[in-house]
């Protein structure tokens, strides 16, 4: 309990020092075209096996995490690429459901990642979503690769305005940025290698979620 309070204080102080203020409300609306594309994207994600949610306002984010975490056995949390406010919101939502959680913020890494494998939640920032295929684009910048890969449960966050229609919309990004690597995640890990029977959860996450927000995530 004491360490949790210390951690919360650390989050708030770090955010203050960086000049970030905890958000109380949306600062900018998302236009309807972006919203529609966001819904289309989420529908595709749902068909791919993701848990999905559209969150209009920041206040509602915590309840989504609380609801999902209630069904998951979570003892540790891996976070990558999120603002101070988001980290605080997610952490608070989790500890309201689970009593003790070990946190790891990437890119800091222990040598043994086993603690963040079983019963772990990874929350990461998504660069873009692809509506046509229900794919989450993760770039190499924020350690989102590991947070979306190692834990048993993962949740990706992106704004409605960050959904593109198809892969070809990414071409200019790939050319302008000097990307080291990229992953397009279109579902939890799965296999049909045994008797062609589809099984979810092999080496990657067993359950994957995606949240599209109607507000900016990085302010």
């Amino acid at each position: 309990m004491f360490m949790q309070r210390v951690y919360i204080l650390y989050i708030v102080m770090a955010a203050w020092l960086k000049g970030e203020a905890p958000r109380a409300s949306a600062t900018r609306g998302i236009d309807s075209a972006a919203k529609n594309l966001g819904y289309e994207f989420l529908e595709k994600c749902r068909k791919n096996g993701f848990k999905t949610a559209y969150v209009e306002r920041p206040e509602a984010l915590a309840s989504v995490f609380s609801e999902w975490a209630a069904h998951w056995s979570i003892k540790s949390l891996m976070i990558a690429g999120l603002s101070g406010f988001l980290k605080e919101t997610i952490f608070n939502a989790l500890i309201s459901v689970k009593k003790e959680i070990t946190c790891l913020e990437l890119p800091d890494l222990p040598s043994d990642l086993t603690l963040f494998r079983a019963s772990s939640l990874g929350v990461f920032r998504v660069y873009a979503g692809v509506a046509e295929t229900g794919g989450l684009i993760v770039l190499d910048d924020w350690g989102s690769n590991l947070a979306s890969l190692i834990p048993e449960y993962t949740v990706g966050l992106l704004e409605a305005g960050e959904v593109v229609s198809d892969y070809w919309a990414l071409t200019s990004v790939l050319r302008q940025r000097d990307i080291g690597g990229m992953v397009i995640i279109s579902g939890p890990s799965s296999t049909s290698d045994i008797e062609l029977t589809h099984v979810i959860g092999v080496h990657g996450p067993v359950e994957a979620g995606v949240i599209v927000t109607g507000f900016e995530l990085d302010e």
Partner: protein, 677 residues
């Protein structure tokens, strides 16, 4: 595998056509410009800081990777699935150097523990049951695991985690290499590919150079079509892009090497008959639809690469002789061509491999004389019918010609179509439609040909029936290309003058239509053969689109439940099933199931032995069970050989579709009474 084919076909059909067109264009560009694209890839990858090695041979690739591993003190390697590394036999080379290799793809790990090679390029352990795998885990890892896919998967998730954490080197294959910037793309579902590219301190990607596409636009075409064709989905769970600054668990750039493998690919690019194989995107659609692969599996019908595409890739990476050992399982049904998203003419390439190998048997040579046998039989029908029905002579036929004594044979009517029709049709110089009858309708049961002409005339067409040779399919099937060429030249020479005057060419035999419209232009490459090809269609397809049947009530009293069998070669000739649609339009009650090939494959299914009647009858029995379960009372089809197979294994009456149309039109002709179908 039938369900995989159905899922894939549905997914492919739902794609926008421009995705498939874009894919084909991209892969054709690779096929034609392989050396240039290789140079571009090496240049762009090195400019981005990537260490690139171009291996001319398998040995060079192995030497590079093993020496790299030794220099860097690598003790353990983790691998994601890579057929190219199987081709090199990389695991053996690393193990021989004292380096532990751990396959991490579930299917590959299972076959590694079993000491076997993969039987399928997408599902390597599909030949093993869940009980087999549970037993294997007990034997090799001394752990009892519940024989369910879920429990087994959970076991391997835990079992492989330590290897992911402790490995020094990760090795991946590549689905795509993007020439414009040197990135490698791998397409996976399990997550092992991501762990292999993230956890170790050294990463090596091994890619056959045919995986290169020029740009990201082209790469996206591959990424949209490959999952649809392979597993019937819009996307696999993970598409991982690997570059010189690949993502690392260490927060720093791992050492990254790209090994580009030639090993026969550049040479294949200069072989007219083999270079189409360079388009292959490894979706395995050809494996899943292949009738013999479904029965035999990859350990028999395969080398390192398995199934239909495996024949071509064995010829490329090893030699024609090795490829011909497995080419014998190809029955030239062409279903693989119908399923291939990049339209590789796999059956014709396999036929050329058979031709180039010179391994054809005397019996196969004799089977190419099928038309002479039929001509003789039509001159002595009673004798031949008796010989075909006698047990003693069937044993003789089996030992001399290799025709299995259990195979039901068509009876001979006696006479031939040209005599029955008369000179008017034989000598006509022009007509709306030229009828190409092929062997069965010329010699065995010319009643079909007679009906075809009557039906065409009832629809207002003038008809010519010049004397042509049989289609030559046995020569193509068994790889006698000089003979196939002679037959093709003869037929094209006879038909071209009609085509030049605007005639259409119609066939009642789907294989004949396939030869004229698909095979001949590729065998001959001439403008005349292309013109003949463009003018050719199946007769029923013509009637379905253009026919104007007289408006008469149906003369038959029974409206039996009809099952329509779609012949393999018909799939390449028209979209959908025009015969089935036409029968329904005429008021018949028709059902169908898309099970693929009935298994006879022309004379192939008549042959004694595994590569013949044994496999053919196994497929025939499975198909018969499906048909009988529909409750159908009779079967409609256009293929004379399919009718043999279906009649034998279902016991139902099989009729040519033209008979139903003739019945509808009230065309009754005693000479056309069904002899066989």
């Amino acid at each position: 595998m039938l369900s995989m084919t159905e899922k894939s076909r549905g997914a492919i059909l739902s794609l926008p056509p421009q995705y498939l067109q874009g894919l084909l264009a991209a892969r054709q560009k690779t096929q034609e410009n392989l050396a240039t694209l290789l140079e571009k890839t090496v240049d762009s990858a090195r400019r981005r800081g990537c260490q690139v090695f171009v291996a001319e041979t398998a040995e060079e690739a192995l030497r590079y990777i093993v020496e790299l591993a030794k220099r860097r003190g690598v003790k353990r390697v983790i691998k994601s699935k890579s057929m190219t590394t199987e081709e090199l036999d990389l695991n053996h080379a690393l193990s021989s150097a004292g380096i532990e290799v751990v396959e991490t793809d579930l299917g590959e790990r299972i076959v590694q523990l079993a000491g076997q090679r993969p039987s399928h390029i997408i599902a390597p352990a599909v030949h093993l049951s869940r009980e087999d795998v549970a037993r294997l885990v007990k034997e090799r890892r001394n752990i009892a695991v519940d024989p369910s896919p879920e429990a087994i998967t959970r076991f391997f998730r835990k079992d492989l985690w330590q290897s992911f954490q402790e490995a020094d080197m990760g090795i991946t294959g590549a689905n795509i290499v993007v020439a414009e910037d040197g990135h490698v793309v791998i397409v996976t579902n399990e997550g092992n590919g991501r762990l292999v590219t993230t956890m170790p301190r050294i990463l090596v990607s091994v890619a056959g150079i045919e995986k290169i596409v020029e740009s990201w636009e082209e790469a996206f075409h591959v990424l949209r079509v490959l999952p649809a064709s392979a597993v019937g989905r819009d996307a696999t769970s993970y598409i991982t892009v690997i570059g010189p600054r690949a993502m690392s668990r260490h927060g720093q750039v791992p050492e990254y090497h790209l090994v580009l493998v030639n090993n026969g690919r550049l040479r294949a690019g200069s072989e007219v008959w083999l270079k189409e194989a360079l388009r292959c995107i490894r979706c395995a659609a050809c494996l899943d639809i292949c009738p013999t692969f479904r029965v035999l599996g990859g350990h028999i019908f395969g080398d390192i690469y398995t199934g239909p595409m495996g024949v071509l890739w064995t010829a490329i990476t090893r030699d024609v002789k090795a490829a011909s050992e497995i080419a014998k399982y190809c029955v030239s049904c062409s279903l693989c061509l119908s399923a291939c998203p990049v339209q590789i003419d796999i059956p014709l390439a396999i036929s050329r491999i058979k031709d180039a190998s010179g391994n054809q048997t005397t019996r196969e040579r004799m089977l190419t004389m099928y038309e002479r046998y039929a001509a003789l039989g039509s001159s002595f029908p009673r004798l031949f019918n008796w010989l075909q029905g006698s047990r003693i002579t069937r044993r003789l036929l089996e030992s001399i010609l290799g025709i299995d004594r259990r195979r039901m044979m068509h009876r001979f009517k006696g006479g031939n179509l040209y005599k029955a029709l008369g000179e008017r049709y034989l000598e006509a110089q022009e007509a709306d439609v030229v009828y190409f009858p092929d062997t069965y309708a010329t010699f065995m049961d010319w009643g079909i040909g007679l009906l075809a002409v009557r039906v065409l005339e009832a629809n207002g067409y003038s008809v010519a029936v010049p004397k042509t040779a049989g289609s030559g399919m046995p020569s193509i099937q068994y790889g006698f290309h000089s003979k196939a060429r002679q037959i093709a030249e003869k037929n094209v020479r006879m038909l071209k003058s009609f085509v030049e005057k605007g005639s259409k060419i119609v066939c009642t035999e789907p294989t004949a239509a396939y030869c004229l419209s698909e095979a001949y232009p590729k065998i001959l490459g001439s403008e005349d053969s292309k013109k003949v090809a463009e003018a050719t269609t199946e007769l029923v397809a013509l009637l379905a689109t253009e026919g104007k049947p007289a408006q008469r009530p149906m003369s038959h009293s029974a409206n039996s439940a009809i099952f329509y069998h779609h012949p393999c070669h018909s799939r390449l000739l028209a979209k959908g099933r025009p015969s089935e649609e036409l029968l329904k339009r005429l008021g018949y009650s028709v059902s169908t199931i898309d099970y693929g090939c009935c298994g006879i494959a022309g004379t192939w299914g008549m042959r004694v032995g595994v590569e013949g009647y044994l496999i053919s009858s196994e497929i025939g029995r499975r198909v018969a069970d499906l048909i009988l379960a529909t409750g159908a009372k009779e079967i409609a089809t256009e293929s004379s050989v399919c009718s043999q197979q279906l009649r034998q294994f279902t016991g139902l009456k099989v009729r040519h579709t033209i008979r139903y149309i003739a019945e509808y039109l009230g065309i009754q002709d005693r000479d056309s009474d069904a002899l066989n179908f």
